[in-house]
Amino acid sequence: MSGVRVLVGTRKGAFLLEADGARADWEVEGPLFPGWEIYHLAGSPVDPDRLYASQSSSWFGQLVQRSDDGGRSWRPVGNQFSYEGVPGTHQWYDGTPHPWEFARVWHLEPSLDDPDTAYAGVEDAALFRTVDGGQSWQELPGLRGHGSGSSWQPGAGGMCLHSIVLDPSDASRLYVAISAAGVFRTSDGGETWTAANRGLRSGEIPAAEAEVGHCVHGLAMHPTRPGVLFMQKHWDVMRSDDAGDSWYEVSGNLPSDFGFAIDVHAHEPETVYVVPITSDSHHFPPDGRLRVYRSRTGGGDWEPCTEGLPQQHCYVNVLRDAMAVDALDECGVYFGTTGGQVYASRDSGDHWTAIVRDLPAVLSVEVQTLL
């Protein structure tokens, strides 16, 4: 019997939601790690029982938890994230040099073929990797060593590496996104990196089309078409058809092209989902209406998906890691809000229902399709 497990990270703990393939009745477990911020949980694509969780606190720092039984039990693994060599400096908010300082793990991305290998995107922005199931983490220093590193500066949420996309057709190729530096790509397993921001235009910075300095909010790729990438930028929804060499805007008829979350349908590489947010100061949906926008044309032409979502007086946000899809025959789409709801659609976005509500603010949503 197939099923789905939804991994929800919140401001005050983690929750696991499980349902069978019908996705009608959900069991909610949690809070796990109550009181701690769970920025992200992720499961191994090759071993669904292997889960990783980023557990952090402004008081007590960073831990990484690992489960080998699908979340029934957890144990802390390594939590040392030491920058390689002399960390150097990046730009601070006032333009002065600021030393690289580890703050937290924003995103965990397990390898596509080895449950003991996973990547961690951290603040201050850097990429770490474990090859021993999280016991130890080593930086891939070539990223921070990219010639532009000293000019990176934090966004309002900190200078975080928040998105990691692995190319399923080429294990040596991956993409990361950093706020507010942009997208970087490696084709040699993380040794060297190239800025991949051509075509991005950010009117908020002095050089609108600079090589780096763009506040990318999220990246998405369909596994069967790794050369095509979608991006939710601070403003603008973007698309690349050449593996990040260049980008063009596909915001089209969206009511706002500001937002955080973006994802691609599990079976339709041209079907993309975003949740428009009013603006960078108004972190809530336009007109108080929570709408997922779906494009079946790879961007440009968008339709609102509203059935079952609140269409008045709704002022929640949907954060960058808080949307995911399942891979059942009829693709399920899921997202969590800062109001503590997790909404699910089991018909590709046509109809929505809250599968849990009143959680702490949701930071991340990931989905495992259990076969």
Partner: protein
């Protein structure tokens, strides 16, 4: 040592953490012993690399705020003798 509830839960402690420390009994020595005994606490009270006290953590003992004292200064005699606790708390936050 008295730990905040979050750290007691992490270390699965139901009450104070008790460690034996050879003199001189300093915050550094106590924290080293705590982290050896409960490795899960490494990095939670002090930075795992620099060993600096985390900014939102405070050290108290015998009615004194020792948060800003050097970590290698001996703790008060009653703490070393085990009759008074070395207290670690998370800084209060509200609003």
């Amino acid at each position: 040592m008295v730990l905040p509830a979050q750290l007691r839960a992490l270390a699965r402690l139901e009450s104070a953490a008790v460690v034996a420390v050879d003199p001189p009994v300093t915050p550094l020595a106590v924290l080293d012993a705590i982290e050896r005994t409960w490795p899960v606490l490494a990095g939670t009270i002090r930075d795992p690399v620099t060993h600096r006290r985390r900014p939102f953590v405070r050290y108290f003992a015998c009615g004194l705020d020792l948060s800003h004292e050097p970590a290698d200064v001996p703790l008060p005699g009653p703490v070393a003798a085990g009759s008074e606790p070395f207290v670690v708390i998370g800084a209060m936050a509200g609003g």
